[in-house]
Subunit: 253 residues, 2 copies
């Protein structure tokens, strides 16, 4: 391969599993962290899905998403209760058996013994791991996730997801990192910014430029964000964005 041709960046999808995310009971707190870390790693997160605890639905989503992306990250459904069906569903999707795993059991036993918890049959359900999977460490509560084929299966509790993702981070494939620059405009709506911003985007078609409106303490606030893996051009765009903002009608300070 031409050494000047960068390898295409790895792609990824996220599958958030749990009835509670669709019923309104629970606010997802995992996608943003996963998105942030994947961007740092240079992995392109293309899509996320939220599905219920339904085996057929999970199997179909796993197969569709893992076929279309280099990596698939799942969250949720690997605990000890009857509604935790992710392990079996992912194994079924990939076509392998789930079996008691000695290393996972050892970790659960050590954790329970340190804390004086009883260890029962249901605890040991969390030591059932698909054949051929590597364990993903759980630095919070011991019960591991796993990495099988191109699917990384993590817990649902946000602190555990962070620990698991941080633990596998160095083993993930690396892409050119996407840099991000931004400027903020107060007291003007997006309509007042749209024309020069469109012109800037036209001059830099390879840079992803976005405009994000909101309100802070009753004041209009628009954040203009540019993202690219071409950091040299991104630095150029940052100066252009600043010039664009400086040329807008005077803003209240």
């Amino acid at each position: 391969m031409d050494p000047d041709t960068p390898a295409p960046a790895p792609t990824a999808a996220v599958l958030l599993i749990g009835n509670e995310l669709l019923s309104g009971r629970t606010q997802d707190a995992n996608l943003q962290y996963i998105g942030t870390r994947l961007a740092e790693r240079g992995i392109r997160l293309k899509q996320a899905r939220v599905v219920a605890d339904d085996r057929d639905v999970i199997v179909a989503a796993v197969n569709e998403l893992r076929a279309a992306h280099d990596l698939l990250f799942t969250t949720g459904g690997i605990g000890p209760t009857h509604d935790d069906i992710t392990t079996d569903s992912v194994a079924a999707a990939i076509g392998v058996e789930v079996r008691p795993n000695a290393l996972a059991r050892e970790r659960l036993e050590a954790y329970a013994s340190r804390r004086g918890y009883p260890l029962n049959e249901d605890t040991l359900r969390m030591a059932r791991i698909p054949v051929g999977a590597a364990l993903i460490d759980n630095p919070v509560s011991a019960a591991p996730g796993f990495w099988l084929a191109n699917v990384l299966v993590m817990a649902g509790v946000p602190s555990i997801v962070r620990g698991m993702l941080d633990g596998v981070y160095d083993a993930l494939p690396v892409g050119t990192p996407v840099g991000s620059v931004s400027v903020v405009v107060f007291d003007l709506g997006e309509s007042a910014i749209a024309a020069p911003l469109r012109a800037l985007q036209a001059r830099f078609p390879g840079i992803d430029i976005g405009s994000y409106p909101g309100r802070v303490d009753g004041r209009l606030r628009v954040e203009l964000v540019a993202r690219s893996d071409d950091l040299e051009r991104l630095a150029l765009v940052e100066r252009e964005l600043q010039a664009l903002v400086d040329a807008l009608p005077a803003q209240r300070r």
Copy 2:
């Protein structure tokens, strides 16, 4: 139809559109509200997806999700800037043109005039609406969403999404509402609860029983939630859940 056979509940999907939701820049704050209100209305939210501002991706997702569900709700991408491509993408998916809409324009003009804002070509981009769509009122900043075929297109800013959804709520189809009951257990892990909970689920197969672990102020906390549209059986399950908790090893108060 047998009058005792309830009509099947309407189903829905949500499509959250925006690069910023995948890059980690922005925490979605719309899915939980939409899920909560749809559950109240008796509409079954089956799936949510998060996709980038990419026309082909949006078109494909809209067509797939609207074919598989009674309703599809989208958020994001209907502002005045170049990265707001949802209106055109949804229109392309459904196969209709986008044209200037007199009523939408009137609202934008009235809003701008009340506030003394200038109205420019980019503001008026937000008055471009697919042919045949009904407007969805925006009580916050006037620029409307729209309802076209079975797709409801809303803004991305959470306060606007709430206003838009509340505004169309009474026009949505109605299903049997899903009730929810819950009990909370402190200082025990899920493993200690899994066996009696599994037995309870086996006795009430039609009731969706979930177990949601977490930590509050360093204490283990597990919430057991049962959901069903059969409110009589749900009341039974609520008593059973309470009995289950009462039979657990003593908890610290």
